[in-house]
Amino acid sequence: MNINNDKTKYKFLEDIAIADIAFEAYGKDLNELFENAALAIFELSADLDTVDASKKVEFELENNKLDNLLYDFLSEILFLKDSKYMVFKHAHVIIEEGKKNKLKAVLEGDKINPEVQSLENDIKAITMHMFELKKEKNNWKATVVVDI
């Protein structure tokens, strides 16, 4: 994990969870926030310089609560890792807010291959511990703790 990542997108928090890993993700809108939270997960999983973006996975989700939509979205990435053996590099997210908030995601990455990729944390779960999504002035911020 490159700790000196782009801190305008997401930042790992150290004093929150000693046994697990916590991060904050930021975005000027919800699409960007979801994409940046996904990037934090990608970076925890592998050295992104070693991950090719040759394969696409698309999915849609909906939820009447935005924070639960984020939780489901990040959990879906872990599901794809274990069931489809995928590791990702880029995320494109479009969210339509409404009574049911709808999400369309396109993730770009590659099949897991330890010979090619430098793999890091096998994240077990997204937790609800301190989980938060909120708007601060004109920006969105999420706090996420992942179970390692």
Binding site: Y71, V87, E120, M128
Partner: protein, 384 residues
């Protein structure tokens, strides 16, 4: 957590240590997205969910005697696969036989004369001599159990209003035990526990195969008997005495482990006189302990004790102090051969990032909630 003995001494193993660790590094996959060797189909996985270790032994992955040496015989009988989502099954079906990452490990350890604290009990548990080699495994139900957790966390969250439950942390979402949601989760969680017992059971099979191959001797002749297998994260209905009255309680051991005393009705016959073996894992640099359950644990901590040393330093802080490659070299100089799928992951698990295991053992020992039997020193380790 699982511990298995051998009749080999460090003198036998030392010249072949690298070969042994390298062999098991290949046969027990670890790390992100690893697939296990048990290629179960959906109907077999359903049997694994309901039958746990029993399925493994019946399908050639273990010995009959392994079952009585596993908490609850490696099978929780209230498991109901219908309560598990297809997503969880899809996530876990190919993970049987994988170690995972984080603090999970497979470790070759040795007994030192000065670390035998109760010779008689040690012998009863299969530890006979100084320099004897044993193997310890720490892993669980992998993505399968976590997906079940994720699924029910979301279900419970939506239900708490109905039951008028408020919690301070959303991760503590819950439902009344007797509610439909509570019972569904209890049955689904049992499937995860059975998968965890099975995962460690098939890994034990791989360990026996590995030793057998390297030492060109059958595992039976190497006396590769299990000492015990105990869960680290499970909730169970148990009978406990509260204010002089026997009551049925749901005991949730999270980051703790069962420590039942001699003559507890749930123990297998072989442990009636000794009490239940307890395995407490330390860091990969410092070692682990075999203990035994006590009556005091029954009286004061619902038959429970500590499960491991616990971290004192965040993963990022550990990585700032040492690089995985350097740590690997340093450990080898100190006689611990370690293989890892992720070098940053290895650095995160450095010994200095954990509490001193001896302090933890002293604490549980002084509290009387378990009694040390043997201390075990690592000589070979596989990290996810």
């Amino acid at each position: 957590m699982r511990l298995v003995t051998t009749n080999l001494t460090f003198k036998d193993v030392q010249p072949k240590l690298k070969e042994l660790v390298d062999t098991m590094f290949k046969t027990v996959p670890s790390g992100v997205g690893s697939r296990g060797f048990v290629d179960a189909n959906k109907s077999q996985f359903k049997e694994i969910m309901t039958d746990g270790s029993k399925w493994c032994v019946e399908n050639g992955y273990g010995w009959q005697e392994d079952l009585e040496r596993t908490e609850g015989h490696g099978r929780i009988d209230w498991a109901e696969p219908e309560k598990v989502s297809s997503k969880a099954i899809e996530r876990g079906i190919k993970q049987l036989g994988t170690l995972g990452s984080g603090n999970h490990y497979l470790e070759i350890q040795i007994v030192k004369a000065e670390n035998i604290f109760d010779e008689e009990l040690a012998k009863k548990f299969g530890i006979h001599t100084s320099e004897q080699v044993v193997v310890m495994v720490h892993c669980g139900s992998r993505g399968f159990g976590h997906q079940i957790g994720t699924d029910y966390l979301r279900i419970f969250e939506g239900m708490m209003k109905k039951y008028n439950i408020e919690v301070y942390d959303r991760e503590l979402a819950c439902a009344p035990f007797q509610s439909n949601e509570g019972q569904d989760y209890y049955k689904a969680m049992a499937c995860a526990a059975n998968m965890a017992f099975s995962n460690r059971q098939v890994i034990l099979h791989r360990i026996r195969e590995g030793f057998s191959k390297v030492f060109k001797t059958e595992a039976e002749k190497l006396d590769m008997h299990m000492v015990y297998d105990v869960a680290h994260n499970i909730a169970k209905l148990e009978e406990h005495t509260i204010d002089g009255h026997k009551k049925k309680l749901v005991v949730h051991r999270k980051g703790s482990t069962r420590a039942f005393p001699p003559h507890h009705p749930e123990l297998a016959k072989i442990f009636k006189e000794t009490g239940q073996p307890v395995i407490i894992g330390g860091s990969m640099e410092t070692g682990s302990f075999l203990l035994v359950g006590t009556q005091k644990a029954m009286d004061e901590t619902f038959g429970s004790t500590a499960h491991g040393s616990g971290r004192t330093m965040s993963r990022a802080a550990a990585k700032r102090q040492v690089r995985g490659e350097q740590l690997q070299k340093d450990m080898e100089k100190r006689g611990i051969y370690v293989k890892a799928t992720s070098m940053p992951g290895l650095a995160e698990e450095a010994g200095f990032a954990y509490k001193n295991i001896t302090d933890v053992i002293d604490a549980v020992s002084q509290a009387g909630i378990s009694k040390p039997v043997v201390g075990l020193k690592p000589v070979g380790n596989i990290k996810g």
